[in-house]
């Protein structure tokens, strides 16, 4: 088997697991399509440092079982390999995913001006919120397909979680340098972030469930909730 002579680049390119090849200075020489998406959530330097830390002592490869998370990418293992002094490669192995984006059901989705939909949600929230609310958005965002009702349910739950905060800062923008694959097609990601001074973390699970059911990635930090929405066209 090992004696087959063929160009494996095609198979590496479309592997669902990210693969990155660095030179000795840490510059990226090659990355496959999965790694292209990963690079939107982690820095080249960070990944190169991991590569060096887990590299085998001599030429060859070393597999390590480690939990790594970058944004919504989760890996359970890596394989670092090199056969000369000039190039070193890292393969990252995806954790099994709970949701499967490539079988998305678009029933109930319709083309939407996300700023308009969000404005309607904000107007409703403003009727009960007395704090300071700041919205920074890109009014040039393209229209895309979304389930408007379910998205509004999600926003309502987020607002419920942060309504006791004296200030709320919301940012909406397109995520640069990262795409998401849905039904075999790559789409831009629209990023929503809700920054508040206080929030009721008991609702994280409910928010996560609504988001997951609607093909939206939700991340929670101490003071920020981030939504990553595929801009399906």
């Amino acid at each position: 088997m090992n004696s087959v002579l063929t160009d494996f680049k095609f198979f590496i390119e479309y592997d669902a697991n990210p693969f990155v090849l660095f030179n000795s200075q840490g510059k990226i020489i090659y990355l496959n399509s999965s790694a292209e998406m990963l690079m939107g959530s982690c820095s080249r330097k960070e990944l190169f440092n991991i590569t060096l830390s887990y590299a085998p002592k001599t030429f060859g490869y070393k597999k390590s079982l480690i939990d790594l998370s970058f944004g919504y990418f989760d890996f359970y293992a890596i394989n670092v390999s090199y056969e000369n002094e000039d190039e070193i490669g890292i393969h990252l192995y995806n954790k099994p995913m709970v949701k499967i984006n490539n079988t998305i059901n678009l029933n109930g989705y319709c083309e939407t001006d996300i700023n308009l939909l969000f404005e309607a949600n904000i107007e409703l929230f403003k009727m009960q919120y007395r704090g300071e609310l700041q919205l920074i958005t890109d009014y040039e965002l393209p229209k895309f397909y979304i389930h408007q009702n379910n998205f509004s349910f999600l926003i309502r739950e987020i607002f419920k979680q942060i309504k006791s905060s004296p200030t709320i800062m919301i940012k909406i923008k397109i995520k640069i340098g990262e795409l998401i694959v849905v039904n075999g097609k790559k789409y831009p990601i629209i990023l929503f972030s809700f920054k508040s001074e206080q929030r009721n973390k008991n609702k994280d699970k409910k928010i996560l469930d609504i988001a997951t059911n609607n093909y939206i990635n939700a991340h929670f930090n101490n003071d920020v909730i981030t939504l990553e929405i595929p801009a399906i066209k």
Partner: protein, 245 residues
């Protein structure tokens, strides 16, 4: 047909109008909840003038509309027993309800829940509506020129409905001429006069308001007795007999 107008200076109502107007171009489900006669239906009609309104009392017609139409407006929503059976998927649904039976069910069904404040919480709207009704009533009753109106003791128990009734009554009572009062009394007495002691029985009809108004105006029995040309003791006796406080 007279165009529908919704009058309000309330910031809260303006937010509802803005939210519902935005939802005109969205496929979302929204509900407007508030006490009866707060103007919910008029407000929705102003925003969606060409839309067909279906009562929640008529569940068969409602289900048919939900099956065949992308946009449905439902009033009397509180009359629907089992809202979970209604299919709102891929539709713009605007519902109007006087009350909520189960708030969790409503939260599950509607992405946008608006609460219509009662009129007693919309002070800025009370005077606006009174002035609108006065103008309307003057036209209807063919009253010309300035009219007296007492803004006290307006009935807001049934929101706009009781406010309108109050304005009607007050406007009529405040603007009667002497001849009209005599005519009213004439009709009343013609109906009620009977028995063998009619004079004494019907006299309080004139005496009671006379003394009550006099006491309010002159604030003293002594002054009032002088104005009425009555003996002070006679006035006191009449106040007692008429049960005036």
């Amino acid at each position: 047909m007279k165009p529908i107008r919704f009058l309000s200076n309330s910031a809260q109502i303006n937010n509802i109008v803005k939210g519902l107007t935005l939802s005109k171009s969205l496929f979302v489900s929204a509900i407007l909840i508030g006490e009866p006669h707060t103007g919910k239906k008029t407000l929705v009609k102003t925003i969606f003038p060409k839309q067909r309104f279906i009562s929640g009392k008529n569940i068969e017609e409602l289900n048919k509309a939900l099956d065949n139409s992308k946009e449905v407006i439902i009033y009397d929503f509180e009359m629907i027993d089992n809202i979970d059976t209604l299919n709102f998927e891929n539709k713009r649904v605007i519902a109007i309800a006087n009350k909520v039976k189960n708030s969790l069910e409503i939260e599950r069904k509607f992405a946008f829940i608006y609460n219509m404040p009662p009129l007693r919480e919309r002070e800025e709207d009370i005077e606006l509506l009174i002035n609108y009704f006065i103008k309307d009533i003057k036209k209807e009753l063919m009253i010309d020129g300035f009219v007296k109106f007492d803004y006290n003791n307006i009935n807001l128990k049934d929101n706009i409905k009781s406010l309108k009734a109050s304005v009607y009554k007050k406007l009529i009572l405040n603007n009667l001429t002497k001849m009209e009062i005599e005519k009213i009394l004439y009709d009343y007495l013609y109906r009620e006069l009977d028995g063998n002691n009619g004079y004494r029985e019907q006299l309080p009809l004139f005496e009671k308001p006379l003394i009550e108004a006099g006491l309010k105006k002159f604030k003293s029995q002594l002054r009032l007795s002088a104005v009425l040309g009555l003996n002070r003791n006679t006035l006191r006796k009449k106040i007692y007999e008429l049960g005036i406080d």
